[in-house]
Amino acid sequence: MTTTMQALGAQAAGGAVDWERVLRRRSFLELDALTRAEALLDDGTTRVLCGPFDRLESPWLVPQDVTPQSDDGVVVARGTVAGAPAVVLSIEQAFQGGGIGEVSGAKISEALRLAARAPMPAVLLLETGGVRLQEANLGLNAVAEICAALLELRPLAPVIGVVAGSVGSFGGLSIATGLCTRVIVTPEARIGLNGPAVIEQEAGVEEFDAADHDLIWAVDGGVQRHRTGLADALVIDDAGALRDAVRDAVAAGVAPAGRHRSERLDVLDARLATVDPAAPPAPERLPSLWGGTYEPPTAQRRPEPDQAEPGSSGTRSSMRPSDRGRTWIAALAGAAPEPVIDSVLRADTADSTYLAVVPDPDNPWYRARQGQVGVTECAALARTIRAVVAQDDGRPQRRAIVAVVDLPSQAYGRIEEMTGLYQAIAAAVDAADAARVAGHPLVTLVVGQALSGGFLAHGLQASRILALDAPGVEIHAMHRQAAAKITRRTVEQLDQLARTIPPLSYDVRQWATLGFCDGLLPVSDADHPTDADVRGVAAAVRVAAHDARTGPTDLSRRLDSDQAKTVRKASRAVREALTAQWSTR
C-alpha cells in the first residue's frame, strides 16, 4: 500500500494518504520536456529559446544512422517564477534517454552562463542517463562545461535541480545535481552516478541486482535521497506541488559561500567514516545514521553490519591496475609522492602541487582497487585542493595544481551509490573549479586512461589539458565493451565508426582534434619514461601552467580554440543563437 501510494504521489515519507490530492492532481511525470518547463514557470510567460525551428540538431547522429531531434532534446525556456525572471532547462528524457550530446550540452551550459550575466535563477530538469555515448567525448566535455557554468551562476542566483522521475538523474549530469543550490525530488525520482544495470554489468549481480526494484529505490530513490539530506524537498507527483516547491526554492535565494553540499567536506568525510564497505549498513539504516539534513552525523561508531560482505565475485573488475600515475607523479615532481590516502598521491615542488589517483589493492572500498575514482578518492582530492587554495590566499602567485591522470573510470558499486558517489564527485569538481576561478593554473596531464566520471572528477575542470601521445593513452566517456553494449553495437562496429566520427574515438590523436587539447606530447615509453621523456613533459606542463595564468579562469577556451572553430561548430552556433535570443525577440 505504502509503495503504491508513494507511486501515486499521494503519500510522501510515510504520511497519511491524501485521496483528495490523488484525484485532483495533474501528473508532472506524464509531461514532456516543454510542458514540464511550462508547468514550472508562471502561466503564459514561457518563451522557448533555440527551439525546434532553429534546427540546432546534433551533427553527429545522422552519420551514425540515428534520427536526430530538432532541438536536440533540451528545452531552454525563459519566463518568470513568482513574477521574477528565471530560466528553465528541461531535458527531454524520451529522446536518447535524455543523453547529453554536444548541442544539448551547449544549450544548458550557455544558458547558465547567460543567466549569470544578468543574474537570474535557473531551474534544471535533470532526467538523463548521462553522456550520450554516440557523442562520447563531446558529451563528457559538455558535462564539465555545464558544471563550470553552474558554479559560475550559483553564487549569483539559485540553481534549482528538479528530479521528478522516470529516467532519473544518472551519469555525468548527476554531478550537476550534486552542485545545485537546492534539489527537489518526488518519490519516483532516482539520483545516482552509475545506474544499476551498468553496475551489474561491470561488477556482477551480487554487487547490484538491477532487476531488484526495491533495492534500486532504496539506494537511489527520491525518498531515500531526501531522508539522508541529499535532496531538500520531497513532493508528490503533481505539477502544482512541483511549481510551489520551485517557487519556495527560488525564494530562498542563494546559499552562503561554503554552505553548498558540494562544499561541505566536513559532512562528506564524517558520513563516509560511518560506513565500513566490508560491513556496510543497509540502505534503510542510512537515514538514522546520517540524519535528514546535510550536517555531520552524530553517530560515532560504525553500526553493526547488516549487508553481507562481498564474496570474491564482488571485487571482480574488468579494469586492470596501471602504474603510470605513480610513475609520472614521482618523475615530474622529482620526489617520492606522499599519500593523502593510499589511493591518492600528492607531490609538491616549489611552485606546483601534483595529484594522482592510483590503484590500491587494499582499498577498503573494494570497487576502487584498480585506480577508479570512488567516494574516498573524491573526498581526498577535494580536501587537498581546498587546502592548497586556502594556503595560497594572499600570496602574490598561486601554485599550479597538476592532475596526473591514469584512471580506468569512477567506481562502480552498490555502496558507492548508496553513499552518494555523485555527491562526492560534485565535491571534487567544485573544489577544482574553485581553484581555477581563484587563479590557480589547473593543468591536467593524461598519462594513461581517462575515462568517464573518473575523468570528470579528476582532470576535466582544468584550464589546460595535455596528453601523452603514446599507446595506452585513452580518453573516453565509457570503456569500450560497455559503450558498445549500450549503443547496441559490437566493439568492431564502434571502432569502425570512430574512424570517421572523432568524438567516438578511443585514439588520443582523434580526441586532440576536438578543441580542448592543449598539447599532445610524444614520449618514447609512457610506462618507463626516459629522462628525456620526463624533461620534455615537465617543460610542457610548465608552459601550460604559465599560459594558464594569463588565460581565462573559465572553460571558454575549449570553445574558442582553433580546432573548436571547426569541430565544435554546432556548440558555437548554440552560443551565438542563444545569446541573440536571450533578451530580444
Binding site: 534520427t67 524520451a94 529522446f95
Partner: protein, 102 residues
C-alpha cells in the same frame, strides 16, 4: 537511418508553423512550416529501414484528406502508421485556422 522525400498536391493554406511530438521510441516529431506553393513537401528521416511503401501510403492517405501546403519534416523513431497520422493531424490542427486557398 533512412531519408525519404515525397511531394503531394495541396490546396489548403495554413497560417502558422507547428511542432508536435518527440523522437522517442515508437514516436516521432513533426515540424511544419507554411509555404505559398500548391504542394506539401515531406521529408521523412526514420530509424527503421524497409518501410518506404508504408510511409508512401500513410502520407498519401493523410494528404488526400488534409492537403495542407507547406514543408513537413518528420523525424521518426519507429512510430506506427496510426501514430504518424495522429501526429500529422495534431500538427495540421496547430497550424490552423486553415482556409481553402483561393
Amino acid at each position: 537511418m533512412r531519408t525519404l522525400h515525397f511531394t503531394f498536391p495541396a490546396t489548403v493554406r495554413a497560417v502558422r508553423r507547428a511542432h508536435v511530438g518527440v523522437v522517442g521510441s515508437g514516436d516521432l516529431e513533426v515540424l511544419f512550416e507554411p509555404t505559398a506553393d500548391d504542394v506539401a513537401v515531406v521529408r521523412v528521416r526514420t530509424s527503421v529501414e524497409g518501410f518506404d511503401e508504408v510511409w508512401r501510403s500513410t502520407l498519401q492517405r493523410f494528404f488526400a484528406r488534409t492537403p495542407v501546403r507547406g514543408s513537413w519534416e518528420l523525424n521518426d523513431a519507429a512510430a506506427t502508421p496510426a501514430l504518424v497520422t495522429l501526429r500529422l493531424q495534431q500538427a495540421a490542427h496547430e497550424a490552423g485556422p486553415i482556409e481553402e486557398a483561393s
